[in-house]
Amino acid sequence: MKRLVAWFDERIPLQGLVEFLGKKYVPLHRGSVWYYFGGVSLFLFIVQVITGILLLLYYKGSEQLAWESIQFIMSKVRFGWLIRSIHTWAANLFMLTVFIHMFSVFFEKAYRKPRELTWLTGMGMLFLGMGFGFSGYLLPWNELAFFATKVGTDIAGVLPVIGKPLMIFLRGGEDVTGATLSRFFGFHVAVFPGLFTVLLGIHLILVQRQGMSEPPGSDAAPNRRVMPFFPNFLLRDLLLWLLVLNVLAILAVFFPSELGRKADAFASAPAGIRPEWYFLFMFQSLKYIPSQVLFMDGEVLGIMLFGIAGLLWMFVPFWDRKSSRGETNRVVNYIGLFVVLYIVLFTILGWVL
């Protein structure tokens, strides 16, 4: 074993990495629990990659075969039902943990200098995660997915100037067809994973290089406590991953993914079309905006407001100067609190109404 390690060490200087890990510490404070959500998100992403590759062995991304291939996976492939159900549930849990991770970073002001790039790459991954969800929702090519994609791409189409070309680009034509399925499949299994891997690599390297951020003020506290990253924090992470794996298995067995009826472009839209839950707050908000607000189309206004809000949120490290200086910025906290309440409230409204 020692010889093997020495062989590798001669070629890749492992000693440096071991020393780095040995000296890596995780700060302990009242908000340390939030550190775990980054790790859980990473674990769920790994689950997605593995189950996604397994599904890819049988899935066929064409209008004629997509639904049938999923039906085959669910009924004929050994443990196919389990893999697909875990893939679906892990996707949902991933979005949940990513949101929690993002808000914890926001409220702990972990985005402040020098971690602006970590925040930006994280936001990039959040948007890609939403893209994964939106593109993956269509892949079973069932009625609900078909019409939800139609509605979703319709919303993109109302944007001024870029709306129509964007909608045609997303759909691969004027309507949601087999061409849309093909390109969503391409985005889902090639484009998004490639981009995500790059962002994830940068994100992880930055986290490792810069260490865990601590809330303003706590790094200067007397009797500051830390925990070794290796093995303490890593083992705790592993323990949590195991628990999440258990939850995934329970969800997959008791609430397996449904397939629904095959999409039919000529059928009337089924009742209860709605997007995945993490789009629901935006979808519901658009419903409440009047069709005409002053001189603007209500839907266009809504999308633009969400776009501006998203950009402001993304660039918070650059306009929240106070936090970067280590000062308390209550306004940012209130904004964050408002956003959380807004998302929770409108998601619930979208779900129950």
Partner: protein
């Protein structure tokens, strides 16, 4: 009412005065002059119902009927319009016939929407070379010499009407200009019908064209509002055929509609509006309506139930039924009351149709065949039900069982085939179809059972994997505890 009777002559005189000359007034100079000129018109008009009510030539043609100066009488400034053309003919009639007050003054009880109905009818909508409606009032009622419908000499009296309608509808060259696909043999067919025969004998109660199609408001049969649209037709026939008083003289039952409405055909057509289901005319004919004879019943039913008819024709029953002069389909299924063909019709128990002729001591071969066929069908139905229940159970458990669910259709298909094949009354032909269904049902059952088994396997598998993960998690937790017993480090310890 009595007061109205008293003032009626005065009202008629008043309206006639307003509308032209009236009896008792100065002679109708138009009529007098035209009589002198000769021709048929004046004599026809003197028989006219309008003339009897005091309406003069000027009532329709305008002008001044009181002067014998032709220039003054036929002066357009005096309202003379000459011979109306196109829709002006009917609008001239409608000036009185659509006017409540005028018609009331004449003591008429005629409907007041005749012109409106005609305009909305198929005749009103088919424009004759751009000259308004295809037919005008005078097309059927004539222009001069118009008689009451009840008057035998009227061209639209019950006994003359068919000829009047046929004057256009039997003229292939004329009808081609409006609707080339419309048959022109209605009158010929009608003459072969029971209605036509009675009409020819002078029975004015027998149905003729307007009895079914209506008079002014005639619509295409494809129009949902038409009295002869398939969905409305049974009710149209029933207006006479369900009227016991009206039909008394003919000595035929009057419960056909009631029976039909509850039959498998009636429910399909009247309740589900399934126009594939037969209405009265599909079995009896429409213009040539007559009850099908014993020998033709199978042919009539066979127009829709083709396979059943073919199988029956090759079955052992065919010869026997012919010999005994039994109406083929009707013997087992009835005629107007045809019920849904249930499984209870087949077999040897008292309520079955087979037991009417077959018993253990009489026609024993048929008895044995009926018993075996019923037993086979019972087995298929039981297997199908079991398979369906298992598929439902697997589905309720959230299992993906689309293939098995689809195969259920094959079992149903086999069961439907047995319904048709039954008409061959041959056990050797019946058995393979039933067995095909039973094999399908067995396959679906096994697939559904496997899915249910898989459901429980998943739960056991989940229990086992949860146990393993939990044990690993506990071990990990113990390991963490052991490592952390040394306590977390302070900054100082870390740096030092």
């Amino acid at each position: 009412m009595r007061a109205y009777r008293l003032i009626r002559p005065a009202l008629v005189a008043l309206v006639a005065a307003l509308w032209g000359a009236a009896p008792g007034m100065a002679a109708d100079e138009c009529l007098r002059c035209h009589e002198d000129l000769g021709g048929m018109i004046p004599s026809l008009f003197k028989r006219d119902v309008h003339y009897a009510h005091g309406v003069t030539c000027a009532g329709c043609h305008g002008g001044d009927p009181t002067t014998n100066d032709m220039a003054k009488a036929m002066d357009t400034s005096a309202g003379f319009i000459g011979i109306p053309k196109g829709d002006a003919i009917s609008t001239t009639c409608a000036r009185c016939h659509s006017d409540t007050m005028r018609m009331k003054a004449f003591g008429s009880s005629l409907p007041l929407r005749q012109w409106e109905d005609l305009q909305a009818s198929v005749h009103g909508k088919l424009s004759g070379v751009g000259a308004g409606s295809a037919i005008q009032c005078v097309t059927c009622h004539n222009a001069h010499g118009i008689l009451r419908v009840q008057t035998p000499a009227s061209p639209v009296s019950p006994l003359n009407l068919v000829k009047k309608c046929a004057s256009c509808h039997s003229n292939a060259a004329f009808m081609r200009t409006f609707n080339p696909s419309l048959p022109v043999d209605q009158l010929d067919k009608y003459r072969t019908s029971v209605h036509g025969a009675l009409n020819a004998k002078g029975d004015s109660k027998a149905a003729q064209c307007v009895s079914c199609h209506g008079s002014h408001a005639i619509l295409r049969a494809t129009d949902a509002k038409s009295r002869v649209n398939p969905v409305n037709l049974p009710a149209t026939c029933a207006t006479c055929h369900s009227n016991a008083v009206y039909m008394k003289a003919y000595g035929i039952p009057t419960d056909q509609f009631e029976k039909y409405a509850n039959s498998v055909h009636g429910v399909a057509l009247l309740q589900r509006h399934d126009e594939a289901a037969p209405a009265c005319n599909d079995c009896h004919g429409n213009h040539g309506a007559a009850p099908p004879g014993v020998t033709s019943i199978a042919n009539v039913c066979g127009t829709c139930h083709t396979l059943n008819a073919e199988l029956f024709a090759g079955s052992p029953h065919k010869k026997v039924f012919d010999e005994q002069k039994l109406p083929e389909c009707e013997t087992c299924h009835g005629n107007h009351e045809v019920p849904t063909a249930e499984i209870s019709m087949l077999g040897v128990s008292a309520e079955t149709v087979c037991s009417t002729c077959h018993s253990e001591s009489d026609n024993v071969r048929g008895f044995a065949a009926a018993r075996t066929m019923r037993s086979l069908l019972d087995s298929l139905i039981a297997m199908e039900e079991t398979a369906r229940n298992l598929v439902d159970e697997a589905e309720q458990k959230g299992m993906e069982i689309g293939d098995a669910k689809f195969s259920l259709r094959n079992i149903r298909q086999a069961r439907l085939e047995t319904r048709t094949l039954l008409h061959a009354f041959s056990e050797s032909r019946y058995r393979p179809v039933v067995e095909k269904g039973i094999v399908q049902a067995a396959s679906v059952r096994s697939e559904a059972e496997e899915a249910i088994h898989e459901f429980y396997f998943r739960r056991i598998g989940l229990g086992a994997s949860t146990l393993v993960i939990t044990i690993i998690a506990i071990c990990l937790w113990l390991l963490i505890r052991r490592i952390e017993k040394k306590g977390t480090l302070s900054d100082a310890a870390r740096d030092g």
